[in-house]
């Protein structure tokens, strides 16, 4: 999605320049929440203050909202159709694969080592087998890192 945003706001409209765009990506990814929405808020604020934010956020959210709303309204009935049901039986394992397969690339780009691999493994096991809410895992990561940096600084 980011190349699409770049073409529109940097190349076509010239709302922000290249360097600011890179700063924006860094911030939108560092902040919690959806990256597309975070980017929209940043650009909206830069271009038109509060009104810009309202416009940009609505623009980022509304198409998905309307498409999914339309699908949600009919999906319960469609699922009864044997052909749809058969197709979804094939699709479900594919979706799980589409979630799992990017892990290889993510692990590579995070430059994971045998030691740091323990973090995702522990996180996955805690959530999957321990039924720990991911929120606690995220909070624990933040707190432990802050304490560790503080201790190492001394």
């Amino acid at each position: 999605m980011l190349p699409l945003i770049q073409r529109e706001v940097v190349d076509r409209k010239g709302w922000i320049d290249e360097e600011e765009f890179l700063n924006m990506i860094a911030l939108a990814q560092a902040a919690p929440g959806l990256i597309a929405v975070n980017s929209a808020i940043f650009i909206g604020w830069r271009v038109g203050g509060w009104r810009g934010v309202c416009g940009a956020v609505l623009g980022a959210v509304l198409p998905s909202f309307l498409i999914i709303l339309a699908i949600a309204m009919v999906f319960q009935d469609w699922k009864e159709i044997p052909a749809v049901e058969a197709a979804f039986k094939g699709i479900r394992p594919a979706v799980v694969a589409l979630i799992a397969a990017p892990l290889v690339k993510l692990a590579k780009s995070a430059k994971i080592s045998w030691v740091t691999a323990l973090i995702p493994i522990a996180a996955a096991l805690l959530i999957w087998l321990g039924h720990v809410n991911p929120v606690w895992v995220i909070l624990a990561t933040i707190v432990v890192t802050l304490v560790a940096v503080k201790l190492l600084k001394r």
């Binding site: 919690p32 929440g33 940043f42 479900r92 802050l146 940096v149």
Partner: protein, 188 residues
Amino acid sequence: MVYLALFISFFKIGLFGFGGGLAILSLIQMEVESHGWMTPQEFVDIVAVSQVTPGPIGINCATYVGYTVGGLWGSILSTFAIVLPSLIIMLSICKAYFWFTKRFKGNPYFEQTLRMLRFTVIGLIASAALMLIKPTTFIDPTSWIIFAAVCLFTILPQVYKNKVTEVLSHPILLILLAGLAGLIVYLP
């Protein structure tokens, strides 16, 4: 009160959803399962729909879950709730942009936390996949064949990059092919 529960759940997802679409899935899944709003099977279906429609997966899930649980108002409320933390945090960052970039760029606390969160996020995504491997989603050996094939086609361009492997790794195409396989295998 279902509206309040929807609001709190999706606000939480927006507030702790670090690392983009796939990482948010485990948060959403935990919320919808603990409230009994969706079965794992229904959740996979909505993720499938999200993969083939445009737009952020978080918005799609919020809208869909909101609608099935609380109708039109539920969908509006959930979508608003997942965006609200972003609004609060990103606007604070924008308002203090220069202060923020000066203070946080190169700050070891900030940089290390982001680095560690990247590792945690990989675990979150793995847990999302693991939690979805259930008897209702993986019904027989064919399911595992489809799973292995989609994994292979997705990873292949990283090992052997050319036009064909590139095209075959497209998620929409893979979902359509899996649907076709489902039709052939399971349609009575």
